[in-house]
Amino acid sequence: MTSQGSSGGGNNPSNSGAKSTSSPVKRREPQVQRAAVALPPEGLVLAERLPERLATHKIEVGAAIDEVVCRVPADHLVDVCRQLKDDPTFGFDYLRLLTVVDYVDPDGEFEVVYHLYSMKHRHKMMVKIRLPERRPSISSVTGIWRGADWYEREMHDLFGVEFEGHPNLVPLVLPEDFDGFPGRKNYPLNDYEEW
């Protein structure tokens, strides 16, 4: 496991752009065709309600294929999530997925994506947060959905995102002495090595 450290070096954010050759695709280019958006009826209703109800939180509402996407400033995350769960109009009681996407350039950003679902209304949405790669830190949502526990630990392992307020942010899937953050784009793939 020691050999990993020399080849990785992924926890150094300054050279992230230089090592991005391992990423197979360039970042969004204008000529690339975009997927068509077609929101289902309940999604349209949700897209209308969101800006009304969350007006104080500076959110941006968009859409991705059939889901409503809501961009939230990082410091409003917990308040927004709390309201999304407790407000009976939304009732998002089910956290389907929590993930981090590493956007390499222009200046290295992480996007934390929360996939929410409501068992009551049967509608769904994504909540997105942008974080700088230099200091990726965000409040934990384990107090709202306990199911976020392991997702956050895993993302902490793979991307080095700090979830503030998480009760037990220790390595989950990787060994404790693992060096680097293998989920990031600048962490290279192995070649054959004698281990």
């Binding site: 391992s22 990423s23 197979p24 695709v25 360039k26 970042r27 969004r28 280019e29 690339v32 065709q33 975009r34 997927a35 068509a36 991705a64 294929i65 059939d66 889901e67 009681d93 089910y94 956290l95 389907r96 997925l97 993930t99 996407v101 590493d102 994506v113 996939h115 068992m119 049967r122 769904k124 994504m126 959905w145 306990r146 199911g147 976020a148 526990d149 392991w150 037990n168 220790v170 390595p171 989950l172 899937v173 990787l174 060994p175 404790e176 002495d177 293998p182 989920g183 962490y187 793939l189």
Partner: protein
């Protein structure tokens, strides 16, 4: 793994807490990564007072293969092979998730015949997976025979899979826009005959286990989780439905041609181990009925849509999910318009179900922990990815 020589590098441990009884300490027991009851390489650390569990810390990652990272470096068609190896007892269901995600992104629809073939394969695989569950669950409780009976039936399903896809386990049969090739000529008759045999096999397990007095004593009232807690933890599949929440992706967000089929969703109310077991028995019976309906609907036709050989979906992001035997398996793809995904994240149902293990077990006996873990029906390939 025997206790003395517990490896040093094993993650965080529970801190030793003095027992309220003067002069005693609780005993730490380490189960796994090699333990017959952990269904692979799962490890749990127990703090026990006598036989009663005071605390439990699950440790995963002993099969973390970095699939998600690898997926970012493969063509979409190559990702299917990695998905086969995620949840290695329900391979077709996994393939369906990735191909339906890419299809959703590209906005293509596979031909109706291909959809039905997919449904039949997935339902057969659901039965195969549940058969494995009954057997291993019985082994956890000390009954060895059901596993052997169920593998007899599982072997027949695998023979059918082999005739269709050429492989017993890792099929790589579903493609973006359809399936690799049409099914063999005798497929329908073979499937119908197999349905009868499977029904017989499921009934046999039901008779052998479900009503058994010891089985009932061991399972009913054990590991109870309420519906609200189950949602809070993000559980899905049979574990969620046993707690009384009727959430099944096949019904709630119908994909493929499930909305044309008539089937039932077993829902429990007690949320205990017995419900979680019995729901799977009933689900397997429903799957047999789905297969029969799907075969009746089959008509000759194409099995592959007219698309490029190498899928190049447009830029965008998509979340697609399907009902796996273990729960709601989803995949989130961020595409930048290339032949490879920019980011791919799997929503593993076993991973979420396993989180609730601590809440379910504390206060029960050591033997119950094994049973509860059995009903969560985890597959480590999917938990760790």
């Amino acid at each position: 793994m025997t206790e003395n020589a517990a490896p040093t590098n094993m993650g965080s441990t529970i801190t030793q807490v003095p027992n309220p009884e003067p002069g005693t300490v609780d005993m730490m027991v380490n189960m796994g990564p090699q333990h017959p009851a952990t269904h692979g390489v799962f490890r749990m650390e127990l703090r026990v007072d006598g036989e009663q569990i005071q605390d439990l810390v699950p440790h995963i990652g002993y099969l973390h293969r970095g699939s998600e990272k690898l997926c970012e470096h493969e063509l979409y068609s190559q990702i299917i092979t990695l998905f086969d190896r995620l949840d290695y007892v329900s391979n077709f269901n996994n393939e369906l998730v990735i191909v339906s995600a890419v299809e959703k992104l590209m906005d293509v629809a596979p031909p109706p015949r291909a959809e039905l073939i997919r449904i039949i394969m997935c339902e057969f695989n659901r039965i195969a997976s549940h058969l494995l569950f009954y057997g291993t669950f019985a082994i956890d409780m000390g009954a060895i025979t059901p596993l052997l009976y169920n593998f007899r039936d599982r072997e027949k399903i695998q023979a059918l899979f082999e005739s269709v896809s050429g492989a017993r386990m890792m099929h790589n049969y579903f493609r973006v826009g359809g399936v690799k090739e049409d099914v063999p000529d005798d497929f329908e008759s073979r499937s119908l005959a197999l349905c009868n045999e499977l029904e017989h096999g499921i009934d046999e397990t039901d008779r052998l286990l479900t009503g058994n007095e010891i089985f009932l004593e061991r399972t009913s009232g054990i590991g109870v989780i309420s519906g609200e807690d189950a949602l809070d933890w993000g559980l899905s599949g049979s574990v969620l439905r046993a707690s009384g929440v009727s959430y099944d992706v096949r019904v709630d967000e119908p994909y493929s041609r499930y909305d044309e089929l008539d089937f039932g969703i077993p829902v429990g109310s007690a949320g205990d181990c017995w419900d979680r077991f019995y729901i799977r028995i009933l689900e397997a019976r429903e799957s047999v009925s789905i297969i029969r309906q799907a075969i009746a609907l089959m008509e000759p036709g194409d099995t592959m849509a007219k698309i490029r050989r190498i899928a190049r979906p447009p830029a965008g992001e998509v979340y697609a999910h399907c009902e796996n035997p273990r729960g709601d398996l989803g995949v989130y793809i961020v595409s930048e318009g290339g032949e490879r995904p920019y980011r791919l994240k799997i929503r593993p149902p076993s991973f979420c179900n396993l989180q609730a293990l601590r809440d379910l077990t504390v206060g029960h006996y050591i033997a119950d922990a094994v049973v509860i873990l059995g009903t969560l029906d985890i597959v480590l390939g999917e938990v760790d990815r």
